[in-house]
Point group: D2
Chain length 323, copies 4
């Protein structure tokens, strides 16, 4: 990594270096999720030893991170608006009885990236291209004709590896702007007693979300400064052939970004469209961190199925660590 | 089961007979999901032998079952409306470049019971009560103050048992109006070489959905006649202490219902508010049926996490059978 | 008006005093809108003298007043979420050409009371009753079976009278908490050279909205302290037999309210369900105030048709003052 | 008009012929709405003689025309989904009392072109251009940066002229596919005793909607065959310098279109982007037709304010004929 702001030229080189286009065939739409082989899933299931399930999701409601103060608002990213179509109060009032059943129903309007979520491979473009070299115009107002999140519907199962970087570095939480380096990741893996393998779902904790939850304020969380993965981790990710990576921050990578002005989220420019890396964001890691610290077991079965909304470029998810 | 139409009095007796209120404490909000013990989860994981993941979800889109012709429309139950907040065409047009990244985003508006889904315990009331004796007025326009689907966020993991009733009865699909009896369930379990146990997630196939998919029409599926569980299966469910049950139909139970006029979905009157049974509906079972027929293994690890929308009475889900 | 906090008993007396139930027949669903007679509409049209149209609406977008800081949040009242279904960027990208036309389309999700709006007569209940004595259970999750806003679809046309109270009292804007009295209304009418008549649409300016617009912050506006109509104005309204009243505040009446704790918006308790008064809120009055100050003409033709959303208890509106 | 299918070359010539770009300045965003002068508004108000208001809107609800069978579905154009945020049943159940007021609230999700509506000038593009020569890329996923419907907020007021073509041609309704010619329009005006003038809002009745309402089916209405304005009426519209035109059909112009395959809604290609003509669609004209037939007065004051949703390319509207 050069000791200077990254330029568009640096990104262009990285794009070439980490380009996995065609690796899984010209028709592939799921990228690095291919790394997880059936035997990896069998092995992952063997990691279930105490029968404990830990959800890595925030609840989806009006108290989510969207709408907080931010220097970088994302148009339309609203917290979920959950409305009832029928209620118990309707039942109590007797107005449902003509239907022969007293039942409640509901509806939600939500930005698919509003809370704990997967970035699909249609989420970010490099110039005019998306993953595997598809034209970015495959993602129209009618949705993603290629790489829709529904293509992952039987993926998102494998070995989960938890890298509690904050803890390994002796911190309650990493500072905003702290770039997590390859060395940090390796040091954490060693401290946590795990070896990252091909096809893993790697989950990285910065502690930032817990600070927000403690402070009861998301201000600055969505689009603000944050600890996160350094641009150089592209190399670590590519070398380790992981299936997916997720963190407890809004955008996984360090902010302010390591780039010259005008380049936002440079790591995303490469991970999604060039590598084909599926990424999780806004993962809730407090309980997982406590459990792993307690039993000193930082690997588990990971299951985090996307909701297969046809043509979606992301999905809310309730990811489970099953230990 | 009496050889006559069920009356409100029959339902009242069943409500008393199958009432599990208080069984898991006065504060319980998840009912029969409590049946699954940690050791059951460990054992379920041992069923993962070939590393194959089968999604039991329909894709969520405008081609879903809602909006089809039905004699029993459910107000507001729309198919998902998926809209883009930013697109690859925006990227191509150059209008995103001022944001420093070419990214797409999206949003969905969906009835939570529009497709493959869990009924939460706030979904149905018996008279003025919901599960565990809570007052039905706990489910207001502000959502379910009790038994919201988010309470299940670390559940929905266990042993899956697939009962392919249609196949066991030698049928491609059961006829609309066919009531699946306790004897049918037992016969199917025997034919499929499985024994149902406490804490299982039982998945029952009628074949009805596959007929709709073949015919490319959902007319009659949502709220129309259907094969499904007979009222007597309440006894089977209670005796077997299962965690949850799901089918490939709109409403699990047989339609026309076995009741006198004015009583709709009588089995639901009991399962949800009295037993505390979580139920899955509109599960897509074609691939699972083919796989189980092929490997003759009708048990597997089941993972179907709800999206924890606070106060929701249901949730879309991408349930996974992991074999 | 007693020189003490209003009690529930005071409200009960006011409810009886200002009760118009049955005045326009047992089936009436539009209340005081009945006051405007055809000849009033003809006369109102004669007030159009310079052919100038002044919109009294805020634009509907994410910069509206909802979501601002407030001690009294109203669940679900979101600013409009406007999304595109097709765009010019799709057109430019060539992806629409297979449709044979290059066209954009759009969609909105909005709380009906999020911006410039009418409160319909289904909006507020007195105990278990709504306007004209209908049972409050007529407003179910399926919408308002009585007094839906669509019942007003050919109303909201008449003489508009503008009472610029802030200006008449020599203020740029009234202070939060300032109660506008009957005497203030009369003084303003006199200052503005107008006489309020039966069937008028009376529009009252406090100046509060303009302060928010100047400060570029809606904090405190929705549900916070505000100048507004005193409880005693019920008498003025009833006596003058006006069709409707509107202001530039969130809730028309003075806040903090003049009531004992536990009673919120006491004036609303009476106006809507007892009087049957249609009310406008969040009207944008800056341009109208400037124009009226300039031409010293405070009467005009008023046209503000509700969008006839069946069963709605309110409606966004673009009210027009036509001079 | 050539006696053959119109080609892209014909459209190109028409685009040049009817191009009003720059006519109202390089910055104009409202096109032909400029034709209506203040004195026209004053004169229009003088047409109010009996004080009768006739709404030209369908109610907005799930029974609207969207979702009907059509060979030409428009993605995302759903009927309004109206949901309650609080209800009278909540009130009755006592769950609102902690808020100190018993009030109902609601929300809508609707395609802006789902029912009675204005097409904004951002709705249709000619090649890469929109009205006044703006680049089509001004209409992004963030909305219309130019020509948003909010720019019309103090327009849509003027003289309304009703051309009941069906009646003038002695028909209950025109046949699907019937092209209304310039001669038909002139004949109707003569029969109806009106002269079309500069700045008018012209409303044309085909009777098609009433057939749908009678048949209680919208099948074929949205995007299907329809009577409507012939391509040649571009000349009539341009010559008469009208402000806007509206009909009771889904898309104003005749369908099947008069064009070669691959060209859909050719008249729209010209009216909106080239002429800058605002158009109304799905206007409900039954009551207006009856009233005009009865009093033989086919002119009136027209007021149909758009809801100023920022950046919208259309708007629901409750247009009023005030006689």
């Amino acid at each position: 990594m050069p000791d200077r702001k990254l330029t568009r030229d640096d990104l262009r080189k990285a794009a070439e270096t980490y380009k996995n286009w065609g690796k899984w065939g010209a028709d592939d739409e799921i990228g690095t999720l291919n790394y997880t082989a059936p035997e990896d899933i069998v092995a992952a299931a063997r990691l279930v030893r105490k029968g404990k399930v830990i959800s890595l999701a925030l609840n989806f409601d009006q108290f989510g991170p969207q709408g907080a103060k931010t220097a970088y608002p994302v148009p339309g990213r609203i917290n979920p608006v959950h409305v009832m179509l029928r209620t118990g109060c309707d039942a109590y009032s007797g107005v449902l009885d003509k239907r022969g059943i007293r039942a409640a129903d509901d509806m939600v309007t939500m930005a698919l990236q509003c809370g704990t979520q997967w970035d699909g491979l249609g989420h970010v473009f490099y110039e005019n291209s998306m993953w595997n070299g598809y034209d970015c115009r495959e993602v129209t107002s009618f949705g993603a004709q290629k790489c829709g999140i529904e293509k992952t519907k039987n993926k998102m199962v494998g070995r989960g590896v938890f890298l509690d970087v904050a803890r390994a570095l002796g911190r309650e939480e990493l500072d905003d702007g702290y770039p997590i380096t390859n060395a940090d990741l390796d040091k954490t893996a060693k401290a946590n007693g795990v070896t990252v393998k091909r096809g893993d779902y790697v989950i990285v904790r910065t502690g930032q979300m817990e600070r927000c939850l403690r402070n009861k304020s998301w201000d600055g969380y969505p689009g603000g400064d944050a600890p996160g993965l350094a641009f150089e981790t592209l190399e670590w990710i590519q070398r380790n052939e992981i299936a997916a990576i997720a963190t407890d921050t809004w955008g996984n990578e360090v902010r302010p970004n390591e780039t010259e002005p005008g380049i936002n989220q440079p790591w995303h420019w490469i991970t999604i469209p060039m590598m084909g890396l599926t990424m999780g964001e806004i993962f809730y890691l407090k309980e997982l961190a406590e459990d792993c610290a307690q039993d000193q077991t930082y690997e588990f079965m990971f299951v985090g199925p996307a909701i297969p909304i046809t043509g979606a470029v992301g999905s809310p998810v309730n990811p489970l660590a099953i230990k």
